[in-house]
């Protein structure tokens, strides 16, 4: 039996909308693969197919060696799922939520209670264990939700945007748990729209956009694909931003799509290519901007970030900066409701 996750040619169409178009995706046993993409790219659809919640129109997938379409019950016996929104019961206590999941997974009452207590301890929920979830904060619900998907120590764990909407501290705590799970040998599929998260946690990253996997590799491999370094600069007067962009594109012969412009900050990121490289590029940039009479507040030369990679690959940013997420359920991000 081969463990891990293997998906070949997964396609899914909703009404007139192609959510997935021939997605190939592989996670070796014990690895952590991040699926990185913006909202609506197809991350959740992929997870729902792999966790037997949705049937693919075409393609084939196995999880922990079981076929998701032909052996869904065995797949369910091998996986843990934590979704974008905590799937926990408001009217039950934290402990009751976990014990219910454990018992539904065939654990004896006592075993389920012991396991629940251990997980509550890990997720720092012991004090709140016997309170109903109405009093839990968003971060506490997410932790409990993750606890639920760990009740039987699943072979494969699916984490669908586990940190979306969490405060920075809760996010770091969750990262620690994910690392611990990975070290214990759990195969993990993580979807995220946060580049930093993929960079920090994943062995390899699959970049997904508009229902297609457009690139795969380690974070370093992806960064190398941009070829060389980038110059990141901020102009003093935003009125001069367009002029600066035009001048830099001319100077470095960069494709317009690869240049990231942030109008709010008045900043621009330009790939400077391999030749000449490094400090020569800096000098060139300064000279050309100076010749055009453009004042600069900030200028740096650096390795491309995953953000730059994403822009390079898709022509748009991965992280949604403005606008709310499409809501599919309640998002308990605040404390007491």
């Amino acid at each position: 039996m081969t463990g891990g996750v293997l998906a070949e040619g997964l396609s899914k169409r909703f009404d007139e909308f192609d959510a997935l178009i021939g997605v190939d995706f592989a996670v070796p046993e014990g690895a952590l693969v991040a699926m990185l993409g913006p909202n609506g790219a197809g991350k959740t659809t992929t997870i729902r197919i792999l966790t037997t919640l949705l049937r693919a129109d075409a393609g084939h997938a196995t999880v922990a060696g079981y076929d998701v379409a032909k052996q869904p019950q065995l797949v369910r016996g091998a996986i843990g799922v934590t979704g974008q929104y905590a799937a926990v019961d408001e009217d039950l206590t934290g402990r009751e939520n976990l014990v219910l999941v454990g018992r539904l997974c065939r654990m004896k009452k006592k075993a389920a209670q012991e396991r629940a207590a251990a997980l509550l301890e890990v997720f720092e929920l012991t004090d709140a264990a016997d309170r109903r979830l109405r009093t839990y904060s968003g971060g506490m619900r997410r932790r409990l939700d993750l606890g639920g998907s760990l009740m039987f120590a699943p072979e494969v764990l699916f984490l669908d945007e586990p940190t979306t909407g969490l405060d920075p501290r809760s996010r770091l705590d969750l990262w620690d748990v994910i690392v611990e799970l990975k070290e214990a040998g759990t195969t993990i599929v993580l979807t995220t729209q946060y580049l930093e998260e993929a960079d920090q946690l994943a062995d390899t990253i699959s970049v997904i956009d508009n229902g297609r996997i457009i690139e795969e590799g380690t974070a370093d491999q992806l960064k190398d694909r941009i070829g060389g370094d980038v110059i990141d600069l901020r102009v003093h007067d935003r009125e001069q931003l367009d002029e600066a962009v035009a001048s830099l594109i001319r100077e470095f012969k960069a494709a317009e799509a690869d240049v990231a412009v942030d109008r709010d900050l008045g900043s621009v990121v330009v790939p400077v290519g391999g030749d000449g490289g490094g400090s020569a590029a800096l000098v060139t940039a300064v000279r050309s901007l100076d010749a055009a009479g453009i004042r600069i507040d900030d200028l740096s030369l650096r390795r491309p970030s995953l953000d730059d990679v994403f822009l390079h690959l898709t022509g748009h940013a991965a992280e949604a900066r403005v606008g709310a997420k499409k809501r599919r359920g309640r998002i308990p991000t605040s404390g007491v409701r």
Partner: protein, 296 residues
Amino acid sequence: MPRNEEVAFLQVECDDMTPVAPARIGTPEERAALPPLRVLADIGLLAQRNLRKSIRMPMFIVFSTIQPFMQLALFVFVFGSVATVGGDISYEQYVVPAVLIQTMTFAGMGSGIGIARDLDTGMIDRFRSLPIARSAFLVGRTSSDSLRLGIQAILLVIASMVMGFRFTTGLGPALAMVVVVVLFGLALTTFSAWMGLTVRDPETVQAAMFIPMLPLVFTSSAFAPISELPEWMQPFARWSPVTAAIDTARGLALGDEVLYQVNQIHLSEAFLHFVIWWLVIVVVFTAMAVRKYRLG
């Protein structure tokens, strides 16, 4: 619950391992096996969860019980003095079985609302991703709701007796009437469950259920004998599932003779209608609800 070899439970062995990811707790095969006893245990666990949730909303229970009491009082004390039906019985005797059935109709909506809420909070996705029997969620829901309806029906029967209602047929038929009333409620919970899975929004479910339910209840023998209804309405009323249930309940509570006097139908015939309707409703809506649940 009886235990045999088939129901071997999983044990945790995590003493010397990290608690987040202990040594495996069973294998996927063990967790996914579905012997019949396990299916029953899953249904029990999910029904227990629903009941626990209801008990934690005491005000909801109080109000949802008071409301039919008030309705009962309204029909008995207000209409009871002005309305008359044929035969030798008072309006009060006539209307109590109808109020019971009507209460089941509206209380049955709770199933759909509960299911829509579980969809909304992601609980259904959680259950669907666990290795439990596909049927356990829906059967668990209808079981706990039937218990809730049964308690409500018994409370209402007691209240109606305090207000002067009398069974004229003896204990056996009286109990049979309660069973018929609850069975009718159970049939409606399957319809309600399907509605909940289809409409998916708790508030909308409630509003959407009223649309077929209200005319169905009033276009029946519930509050007036069918012969007193407008002529165009009579065929609908005669073949209505609500009429079948109410007349069966009446026949059991008041006797076949009285039923025939007021509604020109024998208990055996009303019961046959009830059985056919019951089977149709339960089979059709269970199948449709299970399909919705599986497809997500």
